[in-house]
């Protein structure tokens, strides 16, 4: 069974995920965001087909933008140093991307998992 989601609906889902994700991340351990994404997917009854994609976009945006924001608010040499530790040749843009990527996969996989659970019941 495939459900086609409207663009505005998808946009709304991403905004909700961003807002909820940010709140959860600020106050709770990092692994809680996944559980909350899964719960949201189940509550909203998202189709599993778009679960990963929407979760990925939300996670990617949330983590990469938050990283940029932290670095703008607290400028330091740390991101550059960490971009050497990881190792990304000291490229901070790449570090934003990797941060976003991890956040994206993490958000995507949980939103997908939540959507699949709901479909079953």
């Amino acid at each position: 069974m495939k459900k086609k989601l409207s663009a505005s609906y998808q946009f709304a889902v991403v905004v909700i995920l961003l807002v909820v994700g940010a709140i959860v991340n600020v106050y709770l351990p990092w692994y809680v965001m996944g559980l909350v994404f899964a719960a949201l997917a189940a509550v909203l009854g998202l189709p599993s087909g778009s679960g990963f994609r929407l979760g990925f976009v939300s996670g990617f945006l949330l983590w990469s933008l938050a990283a940029v924001l932290v670095n703008v608010q607290h400028p330091s040499s740390l991101p550059e140093r960490m971009a050497k530790v990881l190792p990304l040749g000291g490229n901070v843009i790449a570090l934003y991307a990797v941060t976003g990527l991890i956040g994206g996969i993490y958000g995507g996989i949980w939103l997908w998992a939540g959507a699949r659970l709901r479909q079953k019941s």
Partner: protein
Amino acid sequence: MKSIKSIIPLICALLFTYALNRSWGTTPPFGKLLSPFHGFWVNAENPETEEASLELLKIPGLQGEVQVIYDEMGVPHVFAKNDHDLFMAQGYLTAKDRLWQMEFQTHFAGGRISEIVGEKGMASDQFQRRMGSIYGAEKSFEGMKEDPKAEEALNAYSDGVNAYISGLSERQLPLEYKLLDYKPETWTPIKSALFLKNMSFVLASGTDDLKMTNILRKYGKKVAEDLFPNYPFEESPIIPVGSPIDFKPVPIPAGPADFTGLGSSMMTPEKDPNIGSNNWAVAGNKTVSGLPILANDPHLTLQLPSIWYQMQLVAPGVNVYGSTMPGTPNVIIGFNKNIAWGVTNVGSDVLDWYQVKFKDASKREYWHDGKWKKTTLRIETFKVKGKENFVDTIFFTHHGPVVYLSHEKPFRSNIPVGHALRWIAHEKSQEMTTFFQLNRAKNYDEYKKALTYYSAPAQNFVFASNEGDIALWVNGKFPLKAPLQGKYLMDGTDPAADWQGFIPQEHNPHVKNPVRGFVSSANQFSTDPSYPYYLGWQYAPSERGRRINERLAIMNKINMDSLRGLQNDNYNIRARKVLPLLLAQVKASSPAQEKGLAMLKSWNLQNAPESIGATIFENWVLYLQDAVWDDEFAADEKVPMNRPALDRLIHMMEAEPQAVWWDNVKTASKKETMQYMISGSFVASMDSLAKKHGPMGPEWAWYKHKQTGVRHLIPGMDALSRLNIPIGGGGSIVNASTTKTGPSWRMVVELSKEGKPKAYGVYPGGQSGNPGSAHYDDLIDTWAKGELRSLLYLENPDQKSNRLRKKIVLSSK
């Protein structure tokens, strides 16, 4: 079927999250680490603004209010109402800037690195514990507790550290915890003892007894004593020659019977011989101000976070500024209104080995003084990360721990197997009391009294007061030995080989207000051979000491800047002597060599950062020593040996051009001469430089060849280190910056009659241990340039200064 399919994504998500929530070997936990809300991003700190700010912090346990004012370097100036609060604040504030380092260093000292890095830390951990690091810390802790003030300081400091730890959330953890994926544990007072005992490991664990015994076994006593003399040909001892002795010496023990021993052991890297230090104080009649000026620069492994942390500690009865060691209360090197003091290491022999004869394989009994005596056992448990606990048994004779049994492979090549260790670091001691009292001392008598509590690692305590006194005590607990006792491995069955008590502390070498108008030390021989006791046969090479003494002797109208200049002196006194001897033996046989010789001939003997002459000279001397000694004294895998000192080789060049040692015994058919060896090593060293840096040019600059770096405590963590620092100097240079070691804190203090001392200082690091802070390494450039920062000495918390930044008020309410 369908239900299983819908569970699979959930399992995937759980596995993914689990995998990114923990470290895998050295791979950090990526999820936790990269999260911009929890991971390393959070550790970024804003650079400080010039605006003053005020923060209130609640710390349960404080008795009163503590005011803390940070200056622009990030140095906290602490004003407390009593000693308890002062030390609690010291613990809290040090942890705030340096928690990870404090814990990591004490984990290392206590042989617990494998708890963090797993099995690869085991060999080092076992070595630390077999050497008795925890045993020594326990004994030392017992001694510290005998002084109620020291005990109060230790407990309050510990409470302060714990107050900081308990207020930390996971996302506030220092970066290294996030990288290595672990959490800080509760601090305990014994960790402070472990840290202090580890300084004996750093400074007083050098031991050549095994290598000397191997030489004794191969070449006999005559050669061993000839090539490894017990006083250098060139020296300028710390206590000026001819200083009167103001005590009646106690009788010297007869000493043990001759003993050759079994020698042995195997090969691994060992401690850096370049760890040393400089200090001096000049009397008022040599200074512009008319009051003494004191300078100190201890040379240690250059590390980030720095081994030092600057603080000003003020409470009723004390107002002291200086460098503290994260992990221990008090200021270690510093000054107060009336006095200034500093330390350099004493190279006395305080570590000896006794060949043990066990009765049988159970090792429950050993032979000593004509009877079987019982060993004692100590069980050490290692909690290795990712593995089962490892339990180790250490056997102790009355001498100390048997560090390695006969069948075991030692962690370092200079550690003999089957020998018990007698080491000053295992004695009960009260170093804390010394520093507590020095922080508060007002004059020479109080300084002198403070030193009576100190045992190890022995230090040259330089001193100056605003009463005009300068002094230096070679201070520590020194075993009372027969001459040369412990130069070689000793017989553990012979009671005459045991240490026979200690030299009375008041007989330690000392000098006060000498006629020459200055006192100084640079790890060289404490005294000339006329001193009535035997302290050791081998000290650091004399070059730094000789250079400092020849400069101070002719310097007049001294001010702080001229002493800063002396701390940064790059003059190569070794080259002054050796270079003409070398050049006399060499003729160039290629244009490149011609250029090299021309460069050496025009060299101004300064190991300046850009100098090419310094690179060629230093490299040549290394190659020459390898060429002369490696055939007879190369560290064979099974029979490691010492190599004669450069001082001895210079004597050979000057006085023994026919010595057998010039010949390379590995070329049986040929007999090499001195000239052949010197010119051959020049060619080899020039070739190696060309291979490494290309044709002679700017790439041959001394600093590029030497590669001084300040490295993060985690090995290989280059991104958190500062490498290739443009600084001159070298191992035998007053500016003793080598590849990995160097002046770890430079301080110059001018005392004042009015109790307003002026001081300058710098260390190669920064106040913060956080790589995300602007204060992580902000002092390194100043240090490399040879400059110092003015140190802000406040008299009260309300004093105005444009250097003051944020203020924190700590209180329990």
